[in-house]
Amino acid sequence: MNCVELQQSLAEVEDGSTLEQRAHLRACPKCSALLKELSLIVASAGELQASDEPSPRVWNSIEIALRREGLIRPQRTNHNQRTPLPSFSARWGAARWLVPAAAMLLLAVGIYERRQSLPAPTHEEAAVLTPVNLSGLNDDDLIQEVAASAPAMQGQYEENLRRVNESIRDAQSLVNENPNDEDARRSLMDAYQQKSMLFEMAMDRQ
Protein backbone atom coordinates (compact mmCIF):
# COMPACT_ATOMS: atom_id res chain seq x y z
CA MET A 1 0.00 0.00 0.00
CA ASN A 2 1.37 3.42 -0.96
CA CYS A 3 0.47 6.86 0.41
CA VAL A 4 -2.31 7.49 -2.09
CA GLU A 5 -3.88 4.08 -1.44
CA LEU A 6 -3.73 4.66 2.28
CA GLN A 7 -5.38 8.07 2.02
CA GLN A 8 -8.08 6.58 -0.17
CA SER A 9 -8.61 3.70 2.23
CA LEU A 10 -9.15 6.10 5.11
CA ALA A 11 -12.54 6.94 3.59
CA GLU A 12 -13.65 3.39 4.45
CA VAL A 13 -11.62 2.51 7.51
CA GLU A 14 -10.84 5.83 9.08
CA ASP A 15 -8.86 4.74 12.12
CA GLY A 16 -6.08 3.06 10.12
CA SER A 17 -6.64 -0.26 11.84
CA THR A 18 -6.45 -2.71 8.95
CA LEU A 19 -3.33 -4.79 8.52
CA GLU A 20 -2.30 -3.02 5.33
CA GLN A 21 -2.94 0.40 6.81
CA ARG A 22 -0.97 -0.38 9.94
CA ALA A 23 1.98 -1.68 7.93
CA HIS A 24 2.11 1.48 5.84
CA LEU A 25 1.63 3.77 8.82
CA ARG A 26 4.57 2.17 10.62
CA ALA A 27 6.84 2.95 7.69
CA CYS A 28 5.49 6.35 6.66
CA PRO A 29 5.78 9.28 9.06
CA LYS A 30 3.86 11.60 6.69
CA CYS A 31 0.76 9.40 6.62
CA SER A 32 1.11 8.68 10.28
CA ALA A 33 1.05 12.41 11.00
CA LEU A 34 -1.94 12.85 8.73
CA LEU A 35 -3.90 10.15 10.55
CA LYS A 36 -3.00 11.73 13.86
CA GLU A 37 -4.35 15.06 12.69
CA LEU A 38 -7.53 13.50 11.36
CA SER A 39 -8.08 11.72 14.65
CA LEU A 40 -7.57 14.97 16.52
CA ILE A 41 -10.11 16.72 14.34
CA VAL A 42 -12.67 13.95 14.82
CA ALA A 43 -12.08 13.93 18.56
CA SER A 44 -12.30 17.70 18.83
CA ALA A 45 -15.42 17.84 16.66
CA GLY A 46 -17.15 15.57 19.15
CA GLU A 47 -16.72 18.21 21.83
CA LEU A 48 -18.51 20.86 19.83
CA GLN A 49 -21.87 21.98 21.09
CA ALA A 50 -24.73 23.26 19.01
CA SER A 51 -24.07 26.78 20.24
CA ASP A 52 -20.53 26.59 18.88
CA GLU A 53 -21.62 25.78 15.37
CA PRO A 54 -19.46 27.49 12.75
CA SER A 55 -20.99 30.10 10.49
CA PRO A 56 -23.14 29.02 7.52
CA ARG A 57 -20.23 29.97 5.26
CA VAL A 58 -18.18 27.12 6.71
CA TRP A 59 -20.91 24.56 6.04
CA ASN A 60 -21.46 26.01 2.62
CA SER A 61 -17.79 25.59 1.75
CA ILE A 62 -17.73 22.04 3.07
CA GLU A 63 -20.85 21.17 1.12
CA ILE A 64 -19.33 22.54 -2.07
CA ALA A 65 -16.14 20.56 -1.49
CA LEU A 66 -18.08 17.35 -0.87
CA ARG A 67 -20.25 17.92 -3.92
CA ARG A 68 -17.15 18.40 -6.06
CA GLU A 69 -15.67 15.24 -4.63
CA GLY A 70 -18.86 13.45 -5.67
CA LEU A 71 -19.69 12.35 -2.16
CA ILE A 72 -23.09 14.03 -2.24
CA ARG A 73 -25.72 14.73 -4.89
CA PRO A 74 -24.14 13.12 -7.95
CA GLN A 75 -25.36 14.71 -11.18
CA ARG A 76 -26.47 12.75 -14.19
CA THR A 77 -26.80 14.00 -17.72
CA ASN A 78 -28.34 12.68 -20.91
CA HIS A 79 -24.92 11.41 -21.88
CA ASN A 80 -24.28 9.01 -19.06
CA GLN A 81 -21.99 6.89 -21.13
CA ARG A 82 -19.48 9.72 -21.32
CA THR A 83 -17.79 11.78 -18.71
CA PRO A 84 -18.63 15.37 -19.54
CA LEU A 85 -15.52 16.71 -17.86
CA PRO A 86 -12.27 14.95 -17.15
CA SER A 87 -12.77 13.03 -13.94
CA PHE A 88 -11.61 14.53 -10.71
CA SER A 89 -9.24 11.71 -9.92
CA ALA A 90 -7.80 11.73 -13.42
CA ARG A 91 -7.09 15.41 -13.21
CA TRP A 92 -5.83 15.43 -9.67
CA GLY A 93 -4.34 12.02 -9.12
CA ALA A 94 -2.57 11.89 -5.81
CA ALA A 95 -3.64 15.42 -4.97
CA ARG A 96 -7.38 14.57 -4.88
CA TRP A 97 -7.28 14.19 -1.11
CA LEU A 98 -6.74 17.94 -0.96
CA VAL A 99 -10.50 18.47 -1.30
CA PRO A 100 -11.49 16.78 1.94
CA ALA A 101 -8.31 18.21 3.44
CA ALA A 102 -9.51 21.69 2.54
CA ALA A 103 -12.93 20.92 3.99
CA MET A 104 -11.43 19.58 7.17
CA LEU A 105 -9.18 22.59 7.34
CA LEU A 106 -12.28 24.76 7.62
CA LEU A 107 -13.66 22.55 10.36
CA ALA A 108 -10.33 22.62 12.13
CA VAL A 109 -10.20 26.39 12.05
CA GLY A 110 -13.74 26.46 13.42
CA ILE A 111 -12.63 24.25 16.29
CA TYR A 112 -9.55 26.37 16.76
CA GLU A 113 -11.60 29.53 16.89
CA ARG A 114 -13.94 27.99 19.44
CA ARG A 115 -11.03 26.91 21.58
CA GLN A 116 -9.55 30.38 21.40
CA SER A 117 -12.83 31.82 22.63
CA LEU A 118 -12.83 29.59 25.69
CA PRO A 119 -11.19 30.89 28.86
CA ALA A 120 -7.42 30.62 28.98
CA PRO A 121 -6.42 27.44 27.16
CA THR A 122 -3.09 26.06 28.22
CA HIS A 123 -0.11 26.77 26.01
CA GLU A 124 0.13 23.11 25.05
CA GLU A 125 -3.52 22.95 23.95
CA ALA A 126 -3.18 26.06 21.84
CA ALA A 127 -0.07 24.73 20.18
CA VAL A 128 -1.72 21.43 19.30
CA LEU A 129 -4.71 23.16 17.77
CA THR A 130 -2.85 25.76 15.75
CA PRO A 131 -4.46 25.54 12.32
CA VAL A 132 -1.16 25.84 10.50
CA ASN A 133 -0.28 22.44 11.90
CA LEU A 134 -3.58 21.01 10.81
CA SER A 135 -3.73 22.43 7.33
CA GLY A 136 -2.27 19.54 5.37
CA LEU A 137 -2.55 21.76 2.32
CA ASN A 138 0.45 21.56 0.11
CA ASP A 139 0.97 24.69 -1.95
CA ASP A 140 3.48 23.03 -4.26
CA ASP A 141 1.00 20.32 -5.19
CA LEU A 142 -1.57 22.96 -5.98
CA ILE A 143 0.75 24.92 -8.24
CA GLN A 144 1.97 21.78 -9.97
CA GLU A 145 -1.57 20.75 -10.79
CA VAL A 146 -2.46 24.21 -12.06
CA ALA A 147 0.72 24.21 -14.15
CA ALA A 148 -0.35 20.94 -15.72
CA SER A 149 -4.03 21.69 -16.23
CA ALA A 150 -4.07 25.44 -16.81
CA PRO A 151 -0.56 26.79 -17.40
CA ALA A 152 -1.88 30.17 -18.48
CA MET A 153 -3.37 30.67 -15.03
CA GLN A 154 -0.32 29.52 -13.07
CA GLY A 155 1.02 33.00 -12.45
CA GLN A 156 -2.32 34.23 -11.16
CA TYR A 157 -2.66 31.28 -8.79
CA GLU A 158 0.88 31.75 -7.51
CA GLU A 159 0.28 35.42 -6.86
CA ASN A 160 -3.03 34.81 -5.09
CA LEU A 161 -1.54 31.99 -3.08
CA ARG A 162 1.27 34.27 -1.98
CA ARG A 163 -1.19 36.95 -0.92
CA VAL A 164 -3.46 34.60 0.95
CA ASN A 165 -0.52 33.01 2.78
CA GLU A 166 0.61 36.48 3.73
CA SER A 167 -2.85 37.25 5.09
CA ILE A 168 -2.79 34.02 7.13
CA ARG A 169 0.59 34.95 8.59
CA ASP A 170 -0.58 38.45 9.47
CA ALA A 171 -3.82 37.22 11.01
CA GLN A 172 -1.97 34.52 12.92
CA SER A 173 0.47 37.06 14.33
CA LEU A 174 -2.45 39.21 15.47
CA VAL A 175 -4.06 36.24 17.20
CA ASN A 176 -0.79 35.40 18.85
CA GLU A 177 -0.41 38.98 20.07
CA ASN A 178 -3.91 39.08 21.46
CA PRO A 179 -5.84 35.81 21.57
CA ASN A 180 -8.94 37.59 22.85
CA ASP A 181 -9.15 39.92 19.87
CA GLU A 182 -12.36 38.89 18.14
CA ASP A 183 -11.38 40.65 14.89
CA ALA A 184 -8.05 38.85 14.77
CA ARG A 185 -9.69 35.44 15.20
CA ARG A 186 -12.24 36.23 12.56
CA SER A 187 -9.53 37.47 10.19
CA LEU A 188 -7.69 34.19 10.61
CA MET A 189 -10.85 32.24 9.87
CA ASP A 190 -11.54 34.37 6.79
CA ALA A 191 -7.97 33.97 5.57
CA TYR A 192 -8.16 30.18 5.78
CA GLN A 193 -11.52 30.19 4.05
CA GLN A 194 -10.00 32.25 1.26
CA LYS A 195 -7.20 29.72 0.91
CA SER A 196 -9.68 26.88 0.90
CA MET A 197 -11.61 28.69 -1.83
CA LEU A 198 -8.44 29.04 -3.88
CA PHE A 199 -7.91 25.28 -3.70
CA GLU A 200 -11.51 24.62 -4.68
CA MET A 201 -11.17 26.86 -7.70
CA ALA A 202 -7.90 25.30 -8.75
CA MET A 203 -9.52 21.89 -8.65
CA ASP A 204 -12.26 23.09 -10.97
CA ARG A 205 -9.75 23.91 -13.67
CA GLN A 206 -9.87 21.85 -16.83
Binding site: P84, N160, L198
Partner: protein, 287 residues
Protein backbone atom coordinates in the same frame (compact mmCIF):
# COMPACT_ATOMS: atom_id res chain seq x y z
CA UNK B 1 -3.55 32.07 -62.98
CA UNK B 2 -5.05 33.58 -59.88
CA UNK B 3 -3.93 37.12 -59.18
CA UNK B 4 -2.38 37.96 -55.79
CA UNK B 5 -5.48 39.89 -54.73
CA UNK B 6 -7.68 36.99 -55.82
CA UNK B 7 -5.61 34.54 -53.81
CA UNK B 8 -5.94 36.66 -50.70
CA UNK B 9 -9.68 36.96 -51.22
CA UNK B 10 -10.05 33.21 -51.57
CA UNK B 11 -7.95 32.59 -48.48
CA UNK B 12 -9.95 35.03 -46.39
CA UNK B 13 -13.21 33.56 -47.65
CA UNK B 14 -12.10 30.05 -46.77
CA UNK B 15 -11.01 31.12 -43.28
CA UNK B 16 -14.29 32.97 -42.66
CA UNK B 17 -16.31 30.05 -43.98
CA UNK B 18 -14.38 27.75 -41.67
CA UNK B 19 -15.08 29.96 -38.73
CA UNK B 20 -18.77 30.13 -39.57
CA UNK B 21 -18.96 26.37 -39.95
CA UNK B 22 -17.12 25.85 -36.66
CA UNK B 23 -19.38 28.22 -34.72
CA UNK B 24 -22.83 26.83 -34.11
CA UNK B 25 -25.85 27.60 -32.00
CA UNK B 26 -28.00 25.34 -29.91
CA UNK B 27 -31.36 26.19 -28.40
CA UNK B 28 -32.98 24.22 -25.59
CA UNK B 29 -36.32 24.62 -23.83
CA UNK B 30 -37.47 23.18 -20.51
CA UNK B 31 -40.84 23.57 -18.84
CA UNK B 32 -40.51 24.03 -15.09
CA UNK B 33 -42.68 24.66 -12.06
CA UNK B 34 -42.34 27.64 -9.72
CA UNK B 35 -39.03 28.02 -7.89
CA UNK B 36 -37.07 25.85 -10.29
CA UNK B 37 -33.33 25.29 -10.00
CA UNK B 38 -31.05 25.98 -12.95
CA UNK B 39 -27.36 25.13 -12.95
CA UNK B 40 -24.84 25.93 -15.67
CA UNK B 41 -21.25 24.68 -15.60
CA UNK B 42 -19.16 26.24 -18.35
CA UNK B 43 -15.35 26.02 -18.27
CA UNK B 44 -14.74 28.68 -20.92
CA UNK B 45 -17.13 31.38 -21.98
CA UNK B 46 -19.79 33.68 -20.64
CA UNK B 47 -23.14 32.99 -19.02
CA UNK B 48 -25.92 35.55 -18.91
CA UNK B 49 -29.24 34.95 -17.17
CA UNK B 50 -32.37 37.09 -17.55
CA UNK B 51 -35.98 36.56 -16.59
CA UNK B 52 -38.48 34.91 -18.93
CA UNK B 53 -42.18 35.75 -18.92
CA UNK B 54 -43.51 32.21 -18.54
CA UNK B 55 -42.63 28.91 -16.94
CA UNK B 56 -39.95 27.99 -19.43
CA UNK B 57 -36.19 27.86 -19.19
CA UNK B 58 -34.66 28.76 -22.54
CA UNK B 59 -30.99 28.15 -23.23
CA UNK B 60 -29.28 29.73 -26.22
CA UNK B 61 -25.77 28.39 -26.53
CA UNK B 62 -23.14 29.58 -28.98
CA UNK B 63 -20.51 26.90 -29.46
CA UNK B 64 -17.23 28.19 -30.84
CA UNK B 65 -16.03 24.93 -32.39
CA UNK B 66 -16.99 21.33 -32.97
CA UNK B 67 -14.72 20.28 -30.11
CA UNK B 68 -17.36 21.14 -27.57
CA UNK B 69 -20.91 20.05 -26.86
CA UNK B 70 -23.70 21.07 -24.54
CA UNK B 71 -25.13 18.39 -22.27
CA UNK B 72 -28.40 18.90 -20.51
CA UNK B 73 -30.58 17.17 -18.00
CA UNK B 74 -33.89 17.92 -16.38
CA UNK B 75 -34.58 16.13 -13.16
CA UNK B 76 -37.86 17.13 -11.56
CA UNK B 77 -37.83 20.87 -11.21
CA UNK B 78 -34.11 21.15 -11.75
CA UNK B 79 -32.29 21.84 -15.01
CA UNK B 80 -28.59 21.15 -15.36
CA UNK B 81 -26.58 22.46 -18.31
CA UNK B 82 -22.99 21.39 -18.69
CA UNK B 83 -20.41 22.19 -21.30
CA UNK B 84 -18.80 18.99 -22.48
CA UNK B 85 -15.25 19.41 -23.74
CA UNK B 86 -14.21 16.93 -26.40
CA UNK B 87 -10.66 15.74 -27.03
CA UNK B 88 -8.28 18.55 -27.95
CA UNK B 89 -10.53 21.35 -26.75
CA UNK B 90 -8.77 24.37 -25.31
CA UNK B 91 -9.83 27.74 -23.95
CA UNK B 92 -10.73 29.02 -27.42
CA UNK B 93 -12.17 25.96 -29.13
CA UNK B 94 -13.90 24.85 -25.92
CA UNK B 95 -15.67 28.13 -25.48
CA UNK B 96 -19.44 28.27 -25.22
CA UNK B 97 -21.40 31.47 -24.56
CA UNK B 98 -24.80 31.05 -22.93
CA UNK B 99 -27.82 33.33 -22.97
CA UNK B 100 -30.39 31.89 -20.60
CA UNK B 101 -33.93 32.93 -19.79
CA UNK B 102 -35.44 31.59 -16.57
CA UNK B 103 -38.63 32.30 -14.59
CA UNK B 104 -37.84 35.19 -12.27
CA UNK B 105 -38.31 33.03 -9.17
CA UNK B 106 -35.80 30.38 -10.28
CA UNK B 107 -32.61 29.78 -8.33
CA UNK B 108 -29.54 29.83 -10.54
CA UNK B 109 -26.04 28.48 -10.07
CA UNK B 110 -23.48 29.60 -12.64
CA UNK B 111 -19.89 28.54 -12.96
CA UNK B 112 -17.32 29.68 -15.48
CA UNK B 113 -13.55 29.73 -15.15
CA UNK B 114 -12.80 32.55 -17.52
CA UNK B 115 -15.98 33.99 -18.97
CA UNK B 116 -18.18 36.71 -17.57
CA UNK B 117 -21.15 35.86 -15.35
CA UNK B 118 -24.24 38.03 -15.44
CA UNK B 119 -27.63 37.74 -13.75
CA UNK B 120 -30.39 40.31 -13.58
CA UNK B 121 -34.01 40.94 -12.56
CA UNK B 122 -34.48 37.75 -10.56
CA UNK B 123 -35.86 37.03 -7.11
CA UNK B 124 -34.58 33.50 -6.71
CA UNK B 125 -31.20 32.68 -5.19
CA UNK B 126 -28.13 33.42 -7.29
CA UNK B 127 -24.83 31.57 -6.88
CA UNK B 128 -21.98 32.62 -9.14
CA UNK B 129 -18.49 31.21 -9.10
CA UNK B 130 -15.43 31.49 -11.31
CA UNK B 131 -11.72 32.07 -10.74
CA UNK B 132 -11.25 34.67 -13.45
CA UNK B 133 -14.85 35.48 -14.14
CA UNK B 134 -16.04 39.07 -14.20
CA UNK B 135 -19.27 39.03 -12.22
CA UNK B 136 -22.15 41.40 -12.75
CA UNK B 137 -25.40 40.99 -10.80
CA UNK B 138 -28.17 43.58 -10.85
CA UNK B 139 -31.79 44.17 -9.95
CA UNK B 140 -32.20 41.20 -7.62
CA UNK B 141 -34.66 41.24 -4.73
CA UNK B 142 -35.56 39.04 -1.76
CA UNK B 143 -32.87 36.48 -2.53
CA UNK B 144 -29.52 35.08 -1.54
CA UNK B 145 -26.66 36.26 -3.73
CA UNK B 146 -23.40 34.36 -3.30
CA UNK B 147 -20.33 35.15 -5.37
CA UNK B 148 -16.91 33.53 -5.34
CA UNK B 149 -14.05 34.69 -7.52
CA UNK B 150 -10.27 34.64 -7.50
CA UNK B 151 -9.31 37.77 -9.43
CA UNK B 152 -12.35 38.68 -11.47
CA UNK B 153 -14.02 42.01 -10.68
CA UNK B 154 -17.40 41.83 -8.97
CA UNK B 155 -20.16 44.35 -9.52
CA UNK B 156 -23.44 44.13 -7.61
CA UNK B 157 -26.03 46.74 -8.45
CA UNK B 158 -29.48 47.30 -6.94
CA UNK B 159 -29.79 44.21 -4.75
CA UNK B 160 -32.74 44.74 -2.40
CA UNK B 161 -33.55 42.82 0.75
CA UNK B 162 -30.83 40.34 -0.06
CA UNK B 163 -28.62 37.93 1.80
CA UNK B 164 -25.36 38.77 0.08
CA UNK B 165 -22.02 37.03 0.47
CA UNK B 166 -19.03 37.81 -1.71
CA UNK B 167 -15.68 36.05 -1.42
CA UNK B 168 -12.90 37.28 -3.66
CA UNK B 169 -9.15 36.98 -3.43
CA UNK B 170 -7.88 39.87 -5.50
CA UNK B 171 -10.69 41.19 -7.64
CA UNK B 172 -12.15 44.61 -6.94
CA UNK B 173 -15.69 44.57 -5.58
CA UNK B 174 -18.32 47.26 -6.09
CA UNK B 175 -21.67 47.24 -4.37
CA UNK B 176 -24.09 49.92 -5.49
CA UNK B 177 -27.52 50.09 -3.86
CA UNK B 178 -27.11 46.77 -2.08
CA UNK B 179 -29.01 46.16 1.14
CA UNK B 180 -30.44 43.31 3.14
CA UNK B 181 -30.35 41.38 6.36
CA UNK B 182 -26.76 40.33 5.69
CA UNK B 183 -24.21 41.83 3.33
CA UNK B 184 -20.80 40.27 3.79
CA UNK B 185 -17.72 40.80 1.64
CA UNK B 186 -14.40 39.09 2.27
CA UNK B 187 -11.40 39.91 0.13
CA UNK B 188 -7.68 39.26 0.43
CA UNK B 189 -6.30 42.12 -1.62
CA UNK B 190 -9.14 43.50 -3.69
CA UNK B 191 -10.66 46.93 -3.09
CA UNK B 192 -14.17 47.12 -1.74
CA UNK B 193 -16.38 50.01 -2.77
CA UNK B 194 -19.82 50.32 -1.18
CA UNK B 195 -22.28 52.97 -2.34
CA UNK B 196 -25.63 52.84 -0.58
CA UNK B 197 -27.53 53.45 2.62
CA UNK B 198 -26.73 50.35 4.71
CA UNK B 199 -30.49 49.84 4.93
CA UNK B 200 -32.86 47.14 6.20
CA UNK B 201 -31.48 47.11 9.74
CA UNK B 202 -29.05 44.57 8.44
CA UNK B 203 -25.56 43.41 9.24
CA UNK B 204 -22.93 44.73 6.88
CA UNK B 205 -19.45 43.34 7.11
CA UNK B 206 -16.79 44.43 4.63
CA UNK B 207 -13.31 43.02 5.21
CA UNK B 208 -10.11 42.93 3.23
CA UNK B 209 -6.57 42.02 4.17
CA UNK B 210 -4.72 44.61 2.12
CA UNK B 211 -7.37 46.20 -0.07
CA UNK B 212 -8.88 49.61 0.61
CA UNK B 213 -12.49 49.92 1.71
CA UNK B 214 -14.57 52.90 0.67
CA UNK B 215 -18.14 53.41 1.81
CA UNK B 216 -20.22 56.27 0.47
CA UNK B 217 -23.52 56.79 2.24
CA UNK B 218 -26.36 59.33 2.04
CA UNK B 219 -27.11 61.74 4.84
CA UNK B 220 -30.20 59.86 6.05
CA UNK B 221 -28.31 56.64 6.76
CA UNK B 222 -28.93 55.03 10.15
CA UNK B 223 -26.13 52.75 11.17
CA UNK B 224 -23.79 51.75 13.94
CA UNK B 225 -20.43 51.89 12.24
CA UNK B 226 -17.11 50.55 13.42
CA UNK B 227 -13.97 50.72 11.31
CA UNK B 228 -10.54 49.40 12.05
CA UNK B 229 -7.31 49.07 10.11
CA UNK B 230 -4.45 47.35 11.90
CA UNK B 231 -1.65 48.82 9.80
CA UNK B 232 -3.48 51.26 7.55
CA UNK B 233 -5.51 54.42 8.06
CA UNK B 234 -9.16 55.13 8.63
CA UNK B 235 -11.00 58.36 7.98
CA UNK B 236 -14.56 59.62 7.88
CA UNK B 237 -16.25 62.73 6.58
CA UNK B 238 -19.46 62.12 8.49
CA UNK B 239 -20.28 63.29 11.97
CA UNK B 240 -20.68 60.23 14.18
CA UNK B 241 -22.04 59.96 17.67
CA UNK B 242 -18.88 58.38 19.02
CA UNK B 243 -18.88 55.18 21.00
CA UNK B 244 -16.50 55.03 23.86
CA UNK B 245 -16.80 51.35 24.70
CA UNK B 246 -15.45 48.94 22.11
CA UNK B 247 -13.59 45.67 22.35
CA UNK B 248 -10.68 47.14 20.41
CA UNK B 249 -8.62 50.24 21.05
CA UNK B 250 -9.86 53.34 19.26
CA UNK B 251 -6.44 54.54 18.16
CA UNK B 252 -6.77 57.79 16.29
CA UNK B 253 -6.33 57.29 12.58
CA UNK B 254 -6.55 53.51 12.96
CA UNK B 255 -10.10 53.01 14.16
CA UNK B 256 -13.38 54.71 14.84
CA UNK B 257 -16.80 53.65 16.05
CA UNK B 258 -20.03 55.55 16.28
CA UNK B 259 -23.61 55.98 15.20
CA UNK B 260 -24.95 57.74 12.14
CA UNK B 261 -28.62 58.83 12.17
CA UNK B 262 -31.27 57.21 14.34
CA UNK B 263 -30.12 54.42 16.58
CA UNK B 264 -33.56 52.76 16.74
CA UNK B 265 -33.59 51.72 13.09
CA UNK B 266 -29.92 51.33 12.49
CA UNK B 267 -27.92 48.64 10.78
CA UNK B 268 -24.63 47.31 12.02
CA UNK B 269 -21.67 48.12 9.81
CA UNK B 270 -18.27 46.55 10.36
CA UNK B 271 -15.35 47.66 8.20
CA UNK B 272 -12.07 45.83 8.73
CA UNK B 273 -8.74 45.68 6.96
CA UNK B 274 -5.23 44.71 7.99
CA UNK B 275 -3.13 47.06 5.89
CA UNK B 276 -5.61 48.82 3.62
CA UNK B 277 -7.27 52.19 4.12
CA UNK B 278 -10.86 52.72 5.16
CA UNK B 279 -12.79 55.81 4.15
CA UNK B 280 -16.39 56.52 5.12
CA UNK B 281 -17.78 59.47 3.24
CA UNK B 282 -21.02 61.29 2.70
CA UNK B 283 -22.65 61.00 -0.69
CA UNK B 284 -23.01 64.31 -2.45
CA UNK B 285 -26.42 65.30 -3.83
CA UNK B 286 -25.19 64.77 -7.38
CA UNK B 287 -24.33 61.11 -6.80
Amino acid sequence: MLSKRGAILVTVTVIMAGALVAESKKELHFTVRPRAGVSVMNPYGSISVRPSPGNTVTVLATLHSDRVEVDNNQSGNRVDIQTHLLAGADAESGRVDYEILVPADASVTLHSSTGSLHAEKLHGDVNLEGPGAAVDVRDISDAHVHVKTMNGPVNLDNIKNGHVEVDSLSGDITLNGVNGSLVQVVSTSGRINYIGDFGNSGEYRLTSHSGDINATIPEWTSADVSARSVRGEVSDDIPLQPKTHTYFALDKGRAFAGTVGRVAVSSTVVLRTFSGKIHLRKRSEKQ
